[in-house]
């Protein structure tokens, strides 16, 4: 029994204390958070833009008979978005990550930037469809009421449709960001020293798997729980108009 505990203690020390390995884990955590944070931002921006292009095309351009120049622009953008969605959703994120790093970033080899862009561009495709479903879920009457007041399409989107759509899709968006956070664990494929990569590195140095792997699992779990907590709070705040 005592032997068991002393092995445990040795393993703990070799995982965390020796060579200050806990600082490596900490910096791995920092990189994971950094990639997730900027990827989420890219994902939201890309996703919103694509969702707006796609639903503008669906509701505004598709049914029109007389097309103007701006309608043709939307038409072309819509086609580009469709290609983007097909490719991004049709290939594994690890493959996209490697293409980004080994082909597109072949000369710079900035692995963290490559990871941020890959995960952001990947997430944007999913966010786009989530937000588009939110826009489609809003009653047509909301759109008509806004237009009848004299708001143009853009202002109707900004003031009336998107705030309601966002509220409706918040749970699905939260889910997407949880997935994204955990997905960044494959960043080690392109030598990003994120949390998972560092944990695995320590495992291979110490020949001891228990502490490093359970630790990184626990850290992801705690991160997701924190994220869930704040999303829940935001959801409750946005729901104050539904009594």
């Amino acid at each position: 029994m005592q032997e068991f505990f002393s092995t445990l203690q040795d393993n703990f020390i070799s995982t965390f204390i020796t060579e200050d390995r806990w600082t490596q884990l900490l910096s791995g955590l920092g990189i994971t958070l950094l990639i997730t944070f900027f990827a989420v931002i890219i994902g939201i921006i890309l996703g919103c833009l694509i969702a707006i292009v796609r639903s503008t095309y669906e509701t505004n351009v598709k049914t029109k008979k007389k097309l103007r120049f701006s309608d043709y622009v939307i038409k072309v953008l819509n086609a580009i978005c469709k290609v983007y969605l097909t490719i991004i959703r049709g290939t594994p994120v690890v493959v996209q990550l490697m293409i980004m790093y080994f082909i597109i970033f072949a000369n710079s080899r900035d692995s963290i930037l490559a990871a941020i862009l890959s995960f952001g561009i990947n997430s944007g495709a999913y966010v786009a469809e989530i937000i588009r479903s939110g826009i489609m879920s809003i009653d047509k009457g909301q759109f008509e009421a806004s237009r009848s007041l004299g708001f143009n399409y853009k202002d109707t989107m900004i003031h009336i449709i998107l705030p309601q759509a966002f509220k409706n899709v918040l749970p699905a968006l939260g889910n997407e960001f949880i997935v994204l956070l955990k997905e960044t664990s494959v960043a080690g494929y392109v030598a990003v020293q994120d949390l998972t990569y560092v944990g695995n590195l320590i495992r291979s140095r110490t020949y001891e798997a228990f502490f490093p792997l359970i630790t990184i699992a626990a850290v992801y779990l705690v991160l997701v729980m924190i994220l869930t907590f704040f999303l829940g709070k935001l959801e409750r705040r946005l729901r104050n108009s539904d009594h």
């Binding site: 009653d139 909301q142 009421a145």
Partner: protein, 246 residues
């Protein structure tokens, strides 16, 4: 009250949905101060006609002149003209994520460039008028149907429109709430507001309307003053319709 100023002139209005002709050439004039009541069986095209007036439905033929401008012309900025044409919907269509006050002030602040104080003051006066000033900070989902529709009417009024379009404003209401909405509409009519109303409320048509229009199968089958319209209908379809609803 009726003057000769033509506010809306409709010429040969046609509308079809995927090849199905709903409106088959409608000519109409709405003068300043008119209260035009539009009735007809369901599917007759009366709502479509009303929704064409502010181009919520794009006509497939004919012209609509609003204050002298052909608003069916694609080069006309319809948003500017819509500011002058308020609309009230069957389903109210209040903005659920905004308070009652915000529902009223959104248009005036963003479109008419009123200051927030000015817009709030006007909105409170309008709310006062329909007896809902105490609900200014409520959200639409906290209101009854009748209250929602009264808010919807003052939301349209807040834009200071030249004409109000009502698309079956009482059809989604519980019977005991119909009166409160009609009362607001009656008082507006009394003040000389120009209105076009699609409704099944024959009492309202008789009492408030300056002209009643019967739309049947996409054309205006009969139009007349309320007295003549109800007491001496000419069109056999109208006679049949009135015998069913009166």
């Amino acid at each position: 009250m009726t003057t000769n100023d033509v506010l809306i002139k409709v010429e040969g209005l046609e509308k079809s949905f995927d090849g199905v002709e709903v409106l088959k050439g409608i000519d109409a004039e709405i003068h300043k101060g008119d209260v035009i009541v539009i009735i007809g069986a369901s599917g007759s095209g009366k709502s479509t006609f009303l929704r064409c007036l502010n181009l919520l439905e794009e006509p497939t033929g004919g012209r609509i002149l609003f204050e002298g401008t052909d608003i069916t012309d694609p080069d006309v900025d319809i948003n500017l003209h819509r500011q002058k044409m308020g609309m009230v919907f069957q389903q109210f269509n209040l903005f659920p994520h905004k308070t009652v006050l915000q529902n009223l002030t959104l248009g005036p602040i963003k479109l008419l460039k009123q200051s927030k104080e000015e817009a709030n003051k006007n909105a409170m006066e309008l709310l006062e008028r329909v007896g809902l000033a105490d609900r200014a900070d409520a959200y639409p989902n906290q209101l009854s149907g009748g209250q929602k529709q009264r808010i919807a009417i003052v939301r349209a009024l807040a834009m200071n429109p030249d004409v109000l379009l009502f698309d079956e404003p009482t059809s989604a209401l519980d019977p005991e709430m119909v009166g409160e909405v009609l009362d607001v509409m009656k008082s507006l009519a009394k003040e000389g507001m120009t209105m076009a109303v699609v409704t099944h409320e024959m009492g309202f048509a008789r009492e408030v309307g300056t002209k009643v229009v019967f739309i049947d199968e996409g054309v205006i089958a009969e139009e007349n003053t309320p007295e003549e319209f109800f007491n001496n209908p000419q069109n056999p379809r109208l006679q049949e319709f009135l015998s069913k609803v009166l």
